[in-house]
Amino acid sequence: MNVSRSTGWMAATAAALWLGLGQADEFTQEDLQRWNQEFMEVVKEGDRLFHGGFPSKNTVSCDQCHPNATNTHPETYPKFQKQLGEVVPMWRMINWCIENPLESEPLPADDPRMTALQAYIHWERRGAKLEPGKH
């Protein structure tokens, strides 16, 4: 293998890599729309769960105390939550509400319903500035 051939091969490989990676990094308006639709589907599911769709054992639902997810303060987590005695991410407090006012079984952190509830809550609070730890 001579030097020039080897260099030419390397250059060709580099060019191919460059192009390939470049394509993977690009996303289109169409992608954005689709991804946003995917997200909004989950928001919609969260909205449903939040407004009586969650199988609450005592019929109490999230929106009874939090119309439009107000007074949930997603922008303040993680924060110290005195009902739990430590600094927690938001899903822990959602579970607290599920177990206490709703008297129902808590969800695993990565349960799709937990994701959906958080998606809806964050969506209703979009635009609020991050204030971690704020009580």
Partner: protein, 372 residues
């Protein structure tokens, strides 16, 4: 966690505890010291002696230490305390341990600080039984050791010693009766994963979870006082005035308007006692509400509740598990706090919770707990 302790120690050094600065034990914040009653070794020693002096009572047999015995976790381990001539009051003697952190004193918070609290029992008709503070001040003024001590601590001559000086010295002593460093503290704040056994660890999860304990018996990220310093009606004792709340409240208020002393009334009249915080604030939303006690050393401070009506921790857990009543078919108080409701704990969870409560004993009292 280590860093938090260092910061706490630095904070004490910075505010200065007049020569008796000691880093607070694991799990506790620095002891708050009022600016008008700084700590000193002499004052603490004087307070200790006053605390144990039985001459400050009508029959010469009752000291502070009678109801707050060091060897009983600074309680008397009786349902309600016995004063001079074995007269009984209406309330369980709370522990002195860590009382320095309390934002109000007595079960109904009728005194704002240890100094205010310390003056009352001497002259209560079912405790010290003195007509006023005069006789005890006479004893002090005639005791050369006391005269010398008050002079060196407060710079007063015998004739100028007042009950306020006495109260300050006792409070200074009480501010040294501080205990943390329990197995729980070593596990949670000391980085010792094995300081609790498995049952106690499960019990902790019940405590902060399904048991709903932590909202009133506060645990935080770096410290745990196990009290919120607030007043709640948890259902204890309500049967004693059930259906008669209106009459009892009316009678109490009429007596109070006519000049009756709250301290004396609530300790001598069992029905008025059950009005709780209401007797102090006259706030209708505080009928039957009592202060949240700390749970530190709870294994040695039995029996429990403001009237000492629950004998064991198992009973206490049952009481909460049934939503503020010992038995499931007992009536529920209409004045019950919104924090209290049936918990649906399993037998296993109840056992674990009791195991956790027993992990709150500081080393100073561990032996007493074992002897029970």
């Amino acid at each position: 966690m280590r860093r938090f302790q260092l910061l706490a120690a630095a904070a004490i050094a910075a505010i200065g505890l007049q020569g008796v600065a000691a880093a607070p034990p694991l799990g506790l914040p620095p002891v708050p010291i009022p600016p008008d009653n700084p700590q000193s070794q002499d004052k603490i020693k004087l307070g200790d002696r006053l605390f144990n002096d039985k001459r400050f009572s009508a029959d010469g047999k009752v000291a502070c230490a009678t109801c707050h015995k060091r060897e009983k976790g600074f309680t008397d381990q009786k349902p309600v305390s016995e004063g001079f001539r074995n007269l009984r009051g209406t309330r369980n003697a709370p522990t002195i341990v860590n009382a320095a952190y309390m934002k109000t004193l007595f079960w109904d918070g009728r005194e704002p600080d240890l100094e205010g609290q310390a003056k009352q029992p001497f002259v209560n008709p079912v405790e010290g039984g003195l007509p006023d503070h005069g006789p005890m001040l006479e004893v002090i003024r005639k005791d050369p050791e006391y005269v010398q001590a008050f002079k060196s601590v407060f710079g007063v001559e015998a004739g100028d010693i007042t009950i306020d000086h006495v109260a300050k010295a006792i409070a200074a002593f009480e501010r040294t009766v501080i205990s943390g460093n329990s197995p729980f503290d070593r596990w949670r704040y000391g980085g010792e994963p094995d300081a609790l056994d498995e049952a106690q660890k499960r019990g902790f999860e019940v405590f902060v979870g399904k048991g709903r304990c932590v909202s009133c018996h506060v645990i935080e990220q770096t410290q745990a006082l196990f009290t919120d310093n607030r007043f709640h009606n948890i259902g204890v004792g309500f049967k004693k005035i059930r259906g008669r709340e209106f009459q009892v409240a009316r009678e109490f208020l009429r007596a109070k308007r006519a000049g009756a002393d709250v301290d004396k009334t609530v300790l001598t009249k069992p029905e008025a006692s059950e009005l709780g915080r209401f007797a102090v604030t006259e706030n209708l939303t505080q009928v039957g509400a009592f202060k949240t006690p700390t749970l530190r050393n709870v294994a040695v401070t039995f029996p429990y509740m403001h009237d000492g009506s629950l004998e064991t921790l198992e009973d206490v857990v049952d009481f909460y598990n049934n939503g503020g009543r010992l038995r499931e078919d007992d009536p529920v108080s209409p004045f019950l706090s919104g924090g209290i409701r049936p918990l649906d704990l399993s037998d296993e969870e109840k056992k674990d919770l009791v195991a956790f409560l027993k992990a709150l004993t500081s080393p100073e009292y561990a032996q007493i707990a074992q002897n029970r």
